[in-house]
Symmetry: C2
Subunit: 694 residues, 2 copies
Amino acid sequence: MPRRAFVRLYGFGVSALLVAVGLVMMGGVLASGQVAGPRPLHGMPLPRSVEMASGELALNQFNYAVMGQHDARLDEAIHRFVWRLDRQCGGIRRSMTMPMASVPELTIHVAGPGQAVQNIDEDESYKLDVRLGAAELTAPTDVGAMHGLETFLQLIEVKDGACRLPAVTIDDAPRFPWRGFMLDVSRHFEPIDVVERTLDGMAVAKLNVFHWHLSDDQGFRAESKKFPKFTEVASDGLFYTQDQMREVVAYARARGIRVVPEFDMPGHTTSWLLAYPEIGAGEDIKVLPQTFGIPQAELDPSNEKTYKFLDEFIGEMSEIFPDAYFHIGGDETAGKGWLANPRIAEFMKKKGFTTPAQLQNYFNTRLLPILAKHGKKMMGWDELLNPELPKDIVVQSWRGADSLAAGAGQGYVGLLSAPYYLDAQKTAAEMFLADPIPADTKLNAEEQKRILGGEVCMWGEQINPETVDSRVWPRTMAIAERFWSPQSDRDVADMYRRLLPASLELEDVGLTHIIGPKRLRRNLAGNAQPDALDVLASVIEPVSFSERYNAQHTDRLTSLDRLIDAVVADPPARQQIEHQVDQALNENSPAEREAARMALRQRFSAWVQAAPQVLALTASTSRLDDEETRARQLGELGATGLEALAFLQAHEKPSEGWLDDRRKTLADAEQASGMVRFVCIPALRRLVEAAGAH
Amino acid sequence: MPRRAFVRLYGFGVSALLVAVGLVMMGGVLASGQVAGPRPLHGMPLPRSVEMASGELALNQFNYAVMGQHDARLDEAIHRFVWRLDRQCGGIRRSMTMPMASVPELTIHVAGPGQAVQNIDEDESYKLDVRLGAAELTAPTDVGAMHGLETFLQLIEVKDGACRLPAVTIDDAPRFPWRGFMLDVSRHFEPIDVVERTLDGMAVAKLNVFHWHLSDDQGFRAESKKFPKFTEVASDGLFYTQDQMREVVAYARARGIRVVPEFDMPGHTTSWLLAYPEIGAGEDIKVLPQTFGIPQAELDPSNEKTYKFLDEFIGEMSEIFPDAYFHIGGDETAGKGWLANPRIAEFMKKKGFTTPAQLQNYFNTRLLPILAKHGKKMMGWDELLNPELPKDIVVQSWRGADSLAAGAGQGYVGLLSAPYYLDAQKTAAEMFLADPIPADTKLNAEEQKRILGGEVCMWGEQINPETVDSRVWPRTMAIAERFWSPQSDRDVADMYRRLLPASLELEDVGLTHIIGPKRLRRNLAGNAQPDALDVLASVIEPVSFSERYNAQHTDRLTSLDRLIDAVVADPPARQQIEHQVDQALNENSPAEREAARMALRQRFSAWVQAAPQVLALTASTSRLDDEETRARQLGELGATGLEALAFLQAHEKPSEGWLDDRRKTLADAEQASGMVRFVCIPALRRLVEAAGAH
C-alpha cells in the first residue's frame, strides 16, 4: 500500500482526538524536521488519550520490573509479552540475562490484582509513559496492566533494523465496561484450541467478555455430570468436558476476560428435549435437527419438574462458571408446542395468559430466584424485556440500537449486538461506525449508563474450525475499537490503516484468518500454488448468511468447502483499490497519479492473466462449479480497468458504445453469483465514469 | 510442474514392483485408449502389491458397512475418514443420509480389533479391492483397516469435477514392524496440539511408533506425582500433565500408533539433578542449562537410592505408558562426574571397572530387573550394546547401519536412526534411499529379522512449535515409505512425484509445514504480501544443525526467527528446476524444450525482479541482516540463467570470459551464507556448461 495513502500527521488518529479530549501536541514532533513527518503510530483499539513527546526508547536490550501486589496471571502475561517482544525485535530474552541497565526499560506498577471474579466494574485503565531510555506502565489492576502491555507491543517500530518506541504518554481506559464476543458452538462445534486462540485474539483486542453459546437445537456442548444424557445423546460426541470448561475459564481470566455461559431456553432446546423429553412440551424428538431455523420445541413452563431440573443444572454450571451473569437466551420462542399441548393451554388459561410471550415471561420470573440462589444475575436476548422483570437483568439486543435505547429508557441495562453479527458479512467500516450510543442519542446521561457496551456475535451455522477465524478476524478488531475508544473515533481510513498491522499481529498470536483461507484455496485448486485463485480471492468477499442460505440451503451436512469459505471477509483490496483510483484521478499530483495508474495497470493485468487459469480450475472440481461466472468477470473487469486507464492516459474520450458496454460489465459483475461478490465495483465504476467524462 | 515430468505409465511406481513382486498388469489399462495413458496413481507409502483392473468406482454417493468385531476406535477412524472424503469430494455426508444403493460403496471386513496393547507383532496388513461400483477393504485388525482407509483416500482422483477411484487390487503390509518417529520435547517444548497433529501426520504416513523424548538436560517434561520437583523446578512450567500423557497414548492408539516414552539416563540428566540432586554424582546444578551439547552430570550408579528412585518413577510412568518397551536413552554418558567423585571412583575400583562405559553397563544391568518388574523391555541408544545385556533389548542406532548390522550379527534386536536425523537437513531422496537393511547386506535372513525397522528423529535444539512441522514434513513421509514399502522401491523421481500431493494431504489433516513458513516470512517481511521473500525462499533450504550451530551458537535463548526458520527443508523447486533444465537441454523434443525454456525464463526473471526487493527488506529488519548476500546472489543467478538461455536460444557460443564469470557466480552462491543454501546450483551449472559447450 502506498505509504502516503493513510499517513496521518500524528499517530492514533489524534486529529479526531484533539477535538475529543482537548489534547495539545507537543512541539517536539512538529519541529522534528523529518521530511515525511513522523511515522503514524499503529495500534488498535485507539487509546483514550495519546500525547506525543520527543525522543524514543530503543530496545537494544530489555529488562523489566514489576512493582506492587499482583496475581501470578500478570507474571504469565509478562512472560508471553517477552516472547512476543523477542519475536518482534530479536535478542530480547538473551538481553534479559545480561547485566541490567540502571533503570529497566519497562517498569510496571500495579496497585493490586483486581477483583477475584472479574465483574463489570473492574478498573481496566492504565497509563503508559514512554521516555528516552525507559517506559513506565501504571495500572490499578492486573487487567489494566495487561491492556497496557498490548499497547506497548503495538507502539514498537522497526526502523533501520532496530526496535524502538516513540516517546509518548498514553492515558487509557475503555468507554464501555462490557466488550463481548459471542461464539456459537452448537451449530458447528469448535474444539478447545479454537476457543483458546479466540481468547488470545480477544486479549489483543482488549475485549473482556467471552459469551459462550453452549447449547442450541443442533447440539448440547457442555458436559453435565447430573444430566449426562445432554452430551451422551445430544452432542454427536462433540462437547467440552467440565475440566475443559474450567480450563477455558482460567485461560480467559489469565487474559482479563470473563466467561458468560449461555444455555438458551425455553426455546432453541431441541437438543435438551432429545436428551430429557420429560421437561418438554410434548414434542417427540428423535434426532438432532440437521437444518437450522426457528425450532418448534420448547421446555414446559407449566411443569414444576422443569424448574427442579433447571435448579440442579444451573447449580452445577454455576460451580464451573464463576461469572456474576448467566445467559438464559430466551430468543425466538414461538411457543407452538405450548399452544398444541392441552395441559399447557389449560395452564395458560388458568394464569390468564393469552400469548406464548406471557408464558415465557412467567418462565423467566420463575428462573430469577433459581439464578439468584446460585449467585447469578439473569442475562438474555431482547425478548426478556418485560416490566415484571427486575432492572438489573442484562438485555442483549439482537433487534437493534432503537430497541436497546427503548429498554434503557425504561430502566433496563443492555448491550448492543444487532450491528455486530459477523455472518451478515458487513465491512469492518460499517460495523466500526455502528455505535451502542450514537452521537445523536436521545438518552440522558443516566440512561446512557445503562448501556454497558456491546457484543460481537459469531453464529455457527456456516462456520467450522477451519473457517471461523477468517469470519471473526480482523473485523472484530474494528468493533473492539468501537467498544473501547472514544465516540469521536470515526475516521474509517485511519481505522483501516491500523487494521492491517493489527491483523498480522493477530495471526502472530496464533489465529489463522489469513493462512486458513489460503490453505483452503490450495485445497480447492488441488495444487500447491493456487496463484490464479488467490488473485480472484483477493477481490471478492463472502455473501451474507441469508444469501448463502438461499443459494445453498445450508444445513449441518453442507460441506463448507466452496470458494466462499476460502475468502476473507472485507478483504484489504477494497481499500487499496479505492485509494489507488483516488490517486489515479488526482490531477493535483502528477507523480502520485502516474504511480497509482501504474499500480492499477499491474493489478488489472493480473486479473486478466488469472481469469483463464481460474476458468480452467472450475472445470477440475465440482466445488468450483459456481465460479465460472466470477472467473469470466474477473477478466472482464481487468480489461475494463485497463481500457479506462488507456483512455485517461491518452486524454481520449471513449465512444458512448464503450461506456454503455462497460457499465453493463460492471452491473453484471455486481449481480449475485457463486456466493461471493466483488469488492472493487464502486472503484472501477468511478474509473470508468472518469474515463467517460474526459 | 509440467505433467510429463513425473508421469509414469502405471501407478505406484509399478515398474519397479513388476520386478520386485512379479505382478502382471491387466490388459484393461493398457488397452484403455487414453491418449496420455492412464493417470499415474498417487499415494505414499507405496503398497507391497498393486494390480490395476478396468473400470472405476464413482463416488457420486457413498455409504459404507463394517463387518466383524472391532473397537470403537475403528468407528472413530471411519468417522474422520468420512469427513476427509467429504472434504475431497463434497456431498459425501449428505449422500449418506439418502437411501443406500444395494451394495455400499465401501465394505470393511475386520477379523478382530487387534492387540489390546499394540505390540511389534500386530498384524497391520490389509487388502483393498476397488471394483466398478464398490470397494472391499479386508484386514485382520483395526490397525490394518485404518491403513487401508488411508490408502483408499489416496486413490481418489478428481476428474471432470467428479470423484472416482480406479479399479485396483492392493495387497499391502509393512516391510518393517517398527516404523517410528522420535520427537524431542526437552530442548524446546512442544504443546499437546503439536504432538497430536504430529500423530495425525504419522497415521497418514502409516508410521506406528511415537517415541517421546520426554526428558533431557534442558528440561523434564513429564509430570510425576511421586517426584513433583521434576516439573516444579526443572521444566520452566512447560510440561505434560499425566492426564495429557494419557490423552496422547489414547490419541495414538486410536490411530494405530504405539507410544514409547524415553527418559534418558544415566547421562543427559541435568534436569533430573536440578530437581533431585541426591541421586546425582555430586555435580551442583543451579539452573537448567541454556546451552546444548554433551552434559557433565549423571545419575549415581553406585548409590542404592538411585535404583529405589528409578523403581518408583518407572513404576509410575508404566501406569501411564502401556507399551511393552521403555526407552532409557543411555547415550553420550561421558562419566566425568563419576570419575571426579571419590566415592564413585572407589565403587568402580571395587567392582573392577576401569571405564565409565563399564559403570554404565552396570547401571543398565541393574535397571533390567526394575523394568521387568513393571512389565517393560529395555530400549536405548547404541551405547547399550554390551554382551552382558539380554538379547531382547532394542538398540536404536544413531551411529549408523554398520553399527546396527554388527549388533544384529551379535544377536541384538535393533532399529536404524542415524540416516534419519531430520536436523541434518538432508533431502527426502537421500533419506528415502538409506535402508535399514541395504540390498547388499551381509546379514543372513535370521539376522535381518533382528532389524525391526527405523525411527525418524526430530531433535529439539533448533525447532519450536511454529517451525517443527516444516522440519518434519513432508520429508518424514519419504522415510515412512522406506520403512513400509519393498526394498526395491528406490525410484527417486517417482517418490518426489507422489510426495507433492502427499504433502498437501498432510496439511489437510492439520499440519502446517507449508503455511507455517509462509506466515513466518510474512512476519519477517513485516507485511501481508512477502512475495519477493517467497521467491527467494522457494529456492533455498536450511543448512544443517551443526552449520547453524557454528554460525549462531544456538542456545535456548536464540530466537528461531531468521530466514532459515521460514524456509522449508528440501523445497520442491529443486526437483522442478532440475527437470526443467533436463527438458530445456533435450534436443529430441523441440516443443517440450521450448516450453521448458519459457518456464525457466519466467522463473529466472522472477528472481531478477525479486532480488532488489529482498535487498530492500534486508535493510528493514536486523533479522534479515545475514541475507544481503543471498538477495544479491538471487539476482545474479537469475541473470546467469537468462544469459545461458539466450546463448542456447541463439545457438551462439559465449565468450570464455562469460563462462569464467558465471562459473564464479555459481561457486560464490554455493558458499555458506545466511544459514541457508540454494537448491538450484547444480541445475544452473548444467545450463551454463551447456551454453558454454555450444
